[in-house]
Amino acid sequence: MNSRRRRLGFILAAAGVLAALILPLSSEAAAALPARPLLTALTIAAALTFAIAASTSGFRAVLPGFVGVLCGAITTLVLLRDPGIAGSAAAGFWAMVLAVWLGAALCVIQLASIRPRNEISRRVLSLAIPLLFGAVVFYLWEVLVRGFGVSPVIMPAPSAAASRFVASLPTLGRDFVQTFIRGVLIGYAIGCGAGLLVAIVAQRFAFLGRGLLPLGNFFSALPLVGVAPIMVMWFGFDWPSKAAVVAIVTFFPMLVNALAGLSASGHMERDLMRSYGADHRQTLKKLYLPAALPFIFNALKINATLALIGAIVAEFFGTPTLGIGFRISTEAGRMAIDMVWAEIALAAIAGMAFYGLVALAERATTFWHPSYRT
């Protein structure tokens, strides 16, 4: 993006913000911007900062641009609280939204073109850019849904889902305990533990390993969540059936990865262990398992996602009146889509936190691995 185009973009953004002062905000009767002194001040501030961004060169334009985006975004969000504007927004309002979007896009582009030298600012940037991008996406989602008055049955605004999330924290907490703590964690421990144990046995007896590896590959490619109805039949509606599904789903990826990992140590190292006179248990503890750790963590990370999916899908087949999957399917049936989104947010947070914890443990235990050398 050359500087002339960027300058033009910021001028357009400033013009869009100013257009909101003139054009009608709503197709219904609603007070225009000049009748709201505080918002007018914010609008003019946004236009001014966009103009400053247009006149500064290089990445110093990011700061005034960002302030302008913030002022514009706050103005539109405050405007949406007016019932005369929400659902019937008109040209002036959308001009402002477009200006905010344009300004934010220019800021993101400008930030992405910076190639910082030192480590810290690189880290900050690689966090700030996706966060800004995500914030813009959520902002547009919110403004579009509320500006056009989209029916909450089809698509609720993120703020509606968030307020529902906060309002129903106790329910969400109980669902979380039922699905995640009981179903996912127990099943995950059983499945991953069993997979690792079988892999260790199979590595000891080559015949077993040669038979299990292709079978494990085959099974881990199957749609194994389909066993959910059978497990519900065997173990009842409560969490043991969910844990069983999770255990089955997580077993095969762990088996395959751990088998690959246990044979990852080199001939030289094995010969060294033999020349030390190490028995199998010692070799396993000092050589095979440490060498297999990166593979095992790979499986643990794959399984973190699979486990949550398995538990939620298993709940579609019957559960006590509790659990993330149960809540999603019943609330979707009752058209309470904001509650569904709150549950999905819960599942997303749980999934990311789980994955993050596994990744942290990986960092702590396999720091010696070449992939972490910088």
Binding site: L208, A221, I312, F317, G333
Partner: protein, 308 residues
């Protein structure tokens, strides 16, 4: 090498054990047979009390062999014996016309069509996104972290609301299911293809620059061929995921047709044999689809002159 190694191989006892085919397949066959044996034993043990209760309710005299025979042929066993599953599978595949609602072929075809449409959509979307990300630093910095993050989210949990939302918009039948399939399968393809398009090393890219190749030429002559192995690796993952997506998408609607609907109906009415037969069908579908991708990969590799 001694002269004896060059001599005509004399058939020694035990030499067949080292035959490459035996070495490769003997362990697999042994373990499969062992699994089937375990399955039979488990079927006897799990269905035993069920069958015994049945005999005692009728107050009929029974022997041990009667009991075991009963566990092998119960109508709604806890765990059907393998031959029962195979019989039910064969019966529901060949016993009805392919368009009859009781035929597994019909249900598999419904699921397969949703899977394939979703897979193709997902592959196109995934490759397109990867192309955009590779060519735009802005997207790489801003969009890619979100795509990677979303891999950790149980996206399958979104399936029911997608069905409800799309149903509210008047979309029903094949399309919502394929959208879920596509949505699930594009992630691995995007990630794999971004890796693949970036896999040529800087030297090769520099060489293209010294030839003053346009970005399009760099793509068609260097990046695309380099990405082909990554493409097929991610396609194999994606095709399984899109099958799972199609099956799960059939659950919340209580869909009338498809393997997922068959699983749900089986679990409602306690038809265990039907569930197992549907599972067998899904396993065959999954391995068939992966096999197909594998065959395509080999054909393409041969076309590109890769030596096996």
């Amino acid at each position: 090498m001694t002269s004896s190694a060059l001599a005509v191989p004399v058939s020694r006892p035990g030499a067949w054990r080292r035959h490459p085919l035996v070495e490769r397949y003997a362990p697999i066959v042994t373990i499969v047979l062992a699994l089937i044996a375990v399955w039979y034993v488990a079927a006897v043990l799990m269905n035993l009390s069920l069958v015994r209760d049945g005999f005692e309710r009728e107050e009929a005299a029974y022997t041990v062999s009667d009991l075991i025979e009963g566990t092998m042929s119960a109508e709604r066993p806890l765990l059907p014996a393998p031959h029962q599953v195979v019989a039910a599978f064969v019966d529901s595949v060949f016993g009805y016309a392919p368009s009859a609602p009781r035929s597994l072929v019909y249900h598999s075809a419904v699921t397969l069509s949703a899977t394939l449409v979703g897979f193709v959509l997902g592959a196109l979307l995934g490759i397109g996104l990867a192309l955009m990300i590779v060519h735009s630093r802005v997207l790489e910095k801003s969009l890619l972290p979100w795509i990677i993050c979303s891999q950790m989210v149980p996206i399958l949990a979104l399936a029911p609301i997608f069905i409800v939302v799309l149903g509210a918009m008047g979309l029903q039948g094949l399309l919502p299911k394929s959208i879920i399939s596509a949505y699930l399968s594009f992630f691995p393809i995007t990630i794999g293809m971004v890796k693949g398009f970036n896999s040529p090393d800087p030297m090769q890219l520099d060489l293209m620059r010294t030839w003053s190749a346009s970005p399009r030429q760099v793509l068609s002559k260097l990046r695309w061929p380099a990405a082909v192995p990554y493409l097929f690796a991610s396609l194999k993952v994606a095709v399984t995921i899109s099958l799972i997506g199609a099956i799960v998408a059939e659950l919340p609607t209580g869909g009338e047709a498809g393997i997922g609907a068959r699983l749900l109906a089986g679990s409602y009415y306690g038809q265990t044999i039907q569930i197992w037969a549907a599972l067998l069908a899904s396993a065959i579908l999954a391995s068939g689809l992966i096999g197909l991708v594998d065959l395509t990969e080999r054909a393409v590799a041969r076309q590109m002159g890769t030596r096996p």
